[in-house]
């Protein structure tokens, strides 16, 4: 589904990624873990066209997408739910969903909206309130729901559990599993590595802009060295 090879990227003169290789196969949940600032977010931003890519290949569904503007990448079915949720605060819940809806991908707005509301009943309840009035957890749900409006085939979630209470975090992870079951491939970037590894199939560990370790998620979770290094235990 997605192949990234030798990705180097950065902001102006400051390079932050020094060669990332990763792959996502159809139906998988891939997690990217690593220290804060190691380059996890930059990896996602490079894939979705937000960060300047210096070198490397990015292929989505067999098609090179490096250099495409973010909106065109999204329109190909690769959605990115950014860090910090980035809800459009001045819009209502439903307007946020409308902003995320892309016509021409075969499904009507009403159809997907109903699905999203079924998945997150709280959003239906508060559909007309301003997004800025929603709590952190609700905003995260809205962010995920909004990404779904683009009918993505691959969804990249950046820190979906950031700043959320454990109970909500668990809900979010359950939703992620649900999304996967419905056929969407996922990349999940998480600081909460322990849980991320529990639900993921495959994991990449990023360290200082490089891919240092990869492997089946369970194996990573159970590796004593990695446990010590990344799981804080």
């Amino acid at each position: 589904m997605l192949k990234v090879a030798g990705l180097k990227a950065g902001y102006g003169r400051t390079q932050v990624l020094f060669g990332i290789d990763l792959e996502v196969r159809a139906g998988e949940i891939v997690t990217i873990i690593g220290a804060n600032g190691a380059g996890k977010t930059s990896t996602l931003r490079s894939i979705s066209g937000l960060t300047q890519v210096y070198a490397g290949e990015i292929e989505f569904k067999g098609r090179p997408i490096r250099g495409l503007p973010p909106e065109e990448i999204t329109r190909l079915g690769l959605a990115h739910c950014p860090e910090g949720r980035q809800i459009l605060q001045r819009l209502t819940v439903e307007e946020n969903l409308l902003a995320g809806y892309l016509p021409g991908r075969g499904r009507s707005f009403d159809e997907i909206r109903t699905e999203v509301y079924d998945m997150f009943p709280i959003l239906r309840e508060r559909r007309h309130s301003l997004a800025s009035r929603m709590s952190g957890g609700q905003q995260q749900m809205l962010a995920i729901g909004r990404s779904l409006m683009a009918t993505p085939e691959l969804l990249m979630l950046d820190e979906p559990s950031l700043g959320l209470a454990p109970k909500i975090i668990n809900q979010i992870f359950e939703i992620i599993i649900g999304l996967s079951k419905s056929g969407i491939s996922l990349i999940v970037v998480e600081q909460n590595a322990a849980v991320a590894l529990e639900i993921a199939d495959y994991a990449y560990v990023i360290d200082a802009g490089r891919c240092s370790v990869e492997g089946g998620a369970h194996n990573v979770l159970n590796d004593p060295d990695l446990k010590a290094a990344y799981l804080g235990a």
Binding site: P69, T74, A79, P82, Q86, Q89, R90, E95, A99, S147
Partner: protein
């Protein structure tokens, strides 16, 4: 005295409606680009000229019913000036996006000079009579006199404002514009073609400006190449007063500025016992603006962004 007040209120509403329409263009462009579009007043000025050109062209070709000719000319002016706005954004502003905010502002200033001079050298500097689209008949209302033109302006402006509000709040394109105003990055991640949203804004803003220009010319009976400078600045003030970036703010600011000016003229000399004459009207308007900003630093309906949350480090 109450009749006097009502009479003045009517004047305030008519001029305020025009200010508000122009202010909308400033505020929309500012919303998506954070740009003070100094050229906006010129779209206002171009409106009646383009209208006259098309209208007389239609009449020259034999024409249809005068009402139809007018309607066609109005719509065509909107479209032509909207497209001009899009083209100007494309060539004079877009290349400067990466260069902070002063460079595009300067470019806008230059465009303003270009547009105004271009009209001046093609049709001459003199004011030209602009025949009223609606014949002006006085109507007694509210104890004062309203002309049909004033009523027409008010109706048309309110119609356009309501239309714009519905468009921006209720349609997908409108939502895209609002999304782009809030965050280009997030919008692009949602698959919104931000450049098209920007173009759309540069179509609607100048188009509305042109509509305001036609109303204005029709109201006062003249058009002239310099007519956009002063009123452009005033409308910009109105947009700031309402909170730049906010669409309802621009409308409110427009009506408010109209009211401040009108009532300033009407009541300053009376209330100050002749001490402060009408020539201080603009001082009064600016003083009100400064006062408002002292208490509401982001205008009446603008969002107060606390400095801690402002991510943009370099303002200028």
């Amino acid at each position: 005295m109450f009749d006097y007040f009502l009479q003045q209120l009517i004047f305030a509403l008519a001029i305020g409606a025009i200010y508000g329409l122009i202010a909308l263009g400033y505020t929309m462009v500012y919303g998506v680009m954070r740009l003070i579009n100094f050229a906006h007043g010129e779209f206002f000025m171009l409106g009646p000229y383009v209208y006259t050109f098309i209208f007389s062209g239609l009449v020259g070709l034999g024409g249809l019913a005068p009402v139809l000719d007018s309607a066609i000319a109005i719509v065509a002016s909107f479209v032509i000036i909207g497209l001009l706005g899009v083209a100007i954004e494309r060539f004079a502003y877009r290349p400067l996006r990466a260069y902070g905010r002063l460079a595009p502002m300067l470019s806008a200033l230059g465009m303003s000079i270009v547009l105004q001079s271009a009209v001046r050298v093609t049709v001459g500097p003199q004011p030209v009579h602009f025949p009223a689209i609606v014949p002006s008949t006085p109507v007694a209302a509210l104890g004062g006199m309203v002309t049909t033109v004033q009523l027409g302006i008010l109706a048309a402006a309110v119609l356009l404002m309501v239309g714009l509000t519905l468009f921006v709040n209720g349609t997908r394109l409108g939502i895209w514009i609002r999304a782009a105003s809030e965050s280009w990055t997030t919008s692009s991640l949602l698959g919104i073609r931000v450049n098209r949203a920007v173009s759309l804004v540069f179509f609607i803003g100048p188009g509305l400006g042109a509509m305001a220009g036609i109303m204005y010319a029709s109201y006062y009976g003249i058009m002239q190449p310099t007519m956009g400078s002063v009123i452009g600045l005033k409308a910009f003030t109105a947009a700031i007063l309402g909170g730049i970036g906010s669409i309802p703010g621009a409308m409110l600011g427009g009506f408010l500025l109209g009211a401040i000016e009108t009532f300033g003229t009407a009541f300053l000399p009376i209330l100050s016992g002749g001490l402060i004459g009408t020539e201080y009207r603009d001082v009064f308007a600016f003083a009100v603006l400064i006062l408002v900003l002292l208490f509401k630093p982001a205008g009446l309906l603008g969002e107060t962004v606390s400095e801690e949350t402002t991510v943009a480090k370099k303002d200028y």
